[in-house]
């Protein structure tokens, strides 16, 4: 059986640390890329990001288990969340020997999450394309708050505050070995994050991406050029929300459970904004870098926290809140454009631009530069 090696460095299990780091990084990267698409490129400040991620997570967690119970003909007594502790072990036992069904349920869950995210995004786009930034921010923040209350209060979806367990769709792969499962999850999440990154890069380098910036910078001017700003913004919100929902679904499958308490404004709205501001809005590479720096910082603090908690009288989590808030305000003051600020998009490939520039260079200069090269 395959085993994940254990390498100790300064008392920290490096492999374990890296796997956790990269898993969290993939998730943060996906969600912050979608926020970048909305807030960075399209100029829609989404202060309710947590709602879309949580919606995907809840929908996937609930629907995948119910589908599995239905397919495997497990009796849920018509009350799935109520009998969750009897249903899930049966599903998991069956899934261990059934890779096809496992993958099917994973894909189904992610698909449901995407649909739910898209529907919520479509609903949110109605005010988003009509309201000013400040009104929209208030509305989405309030809506996310309300959504969280419903998640924790309405039991049929994910059992309220208690939460529910989710089928272990990675169980068939090398059985129950914890370390290996995490590697598989990391590969799935990493592939997904890479896909989303490539997609976002393609979008922002396409004519659509340039139109987005045009609308963001001057709605009136882009409208006068015949761009349908309403339709384009709606498209961006729907796509971004669907991807956010999928990220939530994948996290749910990774954790193996979903509860209303996991989805806090701090983690999935505020931290995502910190990543965006830290890395640089409207720059996907910057966001990728920002997400990595942030996740590294977060995990490092977690390690320190773990080692130092006995010596500090208060819960170190609170210090984390204050630290990241200070970090964000610090960036806004010192470097408001982030690590990698927004760059103008080159509309043609670099090689072609180089070619054009070369052909435009004065031939006299070319001749002058020739002998200089020969002397070297």
């Amino acid at each position: 059986m395959a085993m994940v090696p254990i390498i100790q460095l300064f008392g920290i299990d490096v492999v374990r640390f890296s796997i956790d780091l990269l898993t969290l990084y993939s998730l943060f990267l996906v969600v912050s890329l979608t926020l970048n698409l909305e807030a960075g490129y399209a100029g829609i400040p989404n202060f309710g990001k947590v709602m879309f991620v949580a919606a995907g997570a809840a929908a996937a967690g609930s629907a995948s288990g119910q589908l599995a119970a239905f397919v495997l003909m497990i009796n849920t007594h018509g009350n799935y969340t109520g009998y969750i502790y009897q249903v899930i072990p049966q599903i998991d036992a069956a899934l261990t020997h059934n890779p096809g069904l496992s993958i099917g349920i994973l894909l189904f869950g992610v698909l449901v999450a995407a649909v739910v995210g898209a529907v919520l995004g479509f609903a949110a786009s109605y005010p988003a394309i009509r309201l000013r930034e400040d009104y929209l921010g208030m509305l989405l923040l309030a809506a996310a708050q309300f959504f969280q209350i419903i998640l924790s209060g309405y039991e049929p979806i994910i059992g309220g505050t208690q939460g529910i367990e989710v089928p272990n769709v990675f169980g068939w792969f090398f059985g129950d070995e914890i370390g290996v499962r995490d590697v598989v999850v990391l590969l799935v999440l990493g592939a997904f994050a890479l896909l989303v990154f490539v997609y976002c890069e393609k979008v922002v380098r396409s004519p659509l991406g340039r139109t987005l910036r045009a609308i963001r910078d001057s709605e009136l001017a882009s409208r006068s050029l015949g761009k349908n700003d309403v339709a384009i913004r709606r498209k961006v919100i729907v796509v971004a929300s669907a991807i956010s929902g999928m990220a939530g679904a994948l996290l749910t499958f990774y954790l193996g459970s979903v509860g209303a308490e996991t989805w806090t404004r701090v983690t999935w709205t505020f931290w995502i904004w910190v990543i965006l501001i830290l890395g640089g809005a409207a720059n996907n590479a910057g966001v990728a870098l920002g997400a990595f720096s942030f996740t590294l910082l977060l995990k490092a603090v977690d390690q320190v926290k773990f080692n130092f908690q006995p010596f500090i009288p208060v819960d170190v989590n609170w210090l984390e809140y204050i630290m990241f808030a200070a970090l964000l305000i610090g960036i806004l003051v010192v470097r408001p454009d982030g690590i990698l600020p927004e760059k103008p998009t080159l509309t043609l490939p670099r090689s072609m631009l180089g070619h054009i520039m070369e052909s435009n260079v004065n031939p006299v200069d070319d001749e002058k530069s020739q002998p200089a090269k020969q002397t070297i």
Partner: protein, 328 residues
């Protein structure tokens, strides 16, 4: 004994009126929705909680202390974060995310403080606590049922007098209407804004200390109220102080009353949707009446609805006017 939902309505509506008034004051000056406003309310909650549990001081007596603490927090947030950022030319979104950051930092501070209370005084409920017992009752109802609306009335009257009768108030209105023109005539706009933030933080903390006499409080107790506070402020038009008081009253009252009716008619399962009411009011206001309730031209609506009655009234008015001018 008055029915519970009546007293609930009175307390809830008055407190949200007070909170919305403060939020509108900050919005008027800096034009940024202050996401940290809920935490100013929490400051009041913890002031009341700590002083009651440690010193047995009634929240009525500690309300001025809460006011002072809230004012200090509010002013330091304005001077320490928002003014620095806006001087550097930060965008509106950057300022909004900064206020969200301040809110998160406040939650961290409350967390640390509640941990301190737990370790120092062994208050196991310091993260989430039940309402503090009221210190007096009148005609069989708790004191807060009288104190909350009276406080709202006094505060609204005081703000009205300040804005209309005092030089500072006139300067405030001028700074809100047209900051550059106000500077030209020699008004220190910055000082005026600081004063507005001071009042806003004070009102928030004061309402927080009253709030825990009626409802449970906790670390995120104030932050969780932002749905109602924003809804109230938006309903009031975000630009009108009296509108926000009215908005707070409507939001608070409708939340309690609609929930009561729904609970009676549909059963206890609707309870969790309570916060949906302010949210729906907010959405409808933003989409139908973006300038808020004070922008409704009641006169025109009245004329449209009852044209004949209105024209008779107008005729009556004109003849009265003629009479008073001495033309028969």
């Amino acid at each position: 004994m008055v029915e519970a939902f009546v007293t609930d309505t009175i307390v809830y509506a008055s407190l949200f009126g007070l909170m919305a008034l403060g939020l509108t004051l900050t919005y008027l000056t800096t034009k940024v929705p202050n996401f940290a406003y809920g935490s100013f309310v929490t400051i009041g909650m913890y002031t009341a909680f700590a002083l009651y549990r440690i010193q047995k001081i009634s929240p009525y007596a500690s309300a001025p202390i809460a006011f002072a603490l809230g004012a200090v927090a509010s002013v330091s947030m304005y001077l320490g974060v928002l003014r620095i950022l806006s001087k550097r030319g930060s965008s509106l979104v950057a300022l909004m995310i900064a206020t969200l950051a301040v809110d998160i930092a406040f939650v961290g501070i409350f967390g640390i403080y509640s941990d301190y209370l737990t370790s120092r005084y062994a208050f196991i409920d310091s993260k989430q606590f039940y309402p503090i017992p009221d210190s007096f009752t009148l005609f069989g109802t708790a004191g807060i049922v009288y104190v909350a609306p009276i406080s709202l009335g006094i505060v609204t009257l005081a703000v009205f007098l300040l804005l209309t009768q005092s030089k500072l108030g006139v300067a405030m209105r001028a700074s809100v209407e047209n900051p550059s023109l106000a500077r030209v005539v020699g008004i220190n706009v910055e000082r005026v804004y600081v004063f507005a933030w001071l009042l806003a933080g004070g009102f928030a903390a004061m309402s927080g200390s009253y709030y825990v006499l009626w409802l449970p409080g906790g670390i995120t107790g104030g932050s969780n109220l932002i749905v109602e506070i924003f809804a109230a402020s938006v309903l009031g038009g975000l630009a009108s102080i009296y509108g926000s008081v009215l908005g707070g009253l409507i939001i608070g009252a409708s939340e309690v009353l609609v929930t009561k009716v729904a609970l009676d008619q549909l059963g206890s399962w609707v309870g969790i949707y309570q916060k949906g009411i302010p949210l729906i009011i907010m959405v409808v206001t933003l989409l139908v009446l973006p300038k808020g309730i004070t922008s409704i031209d009641w006169h025109r609506i009245f004329v449209k609805a009852y044209p004949s009655f209105a024209s008779q009234l107008r005729r009556l008015y004109h003849s009265m006017a003629k009479l008073t001018r001495g033309e028969s």
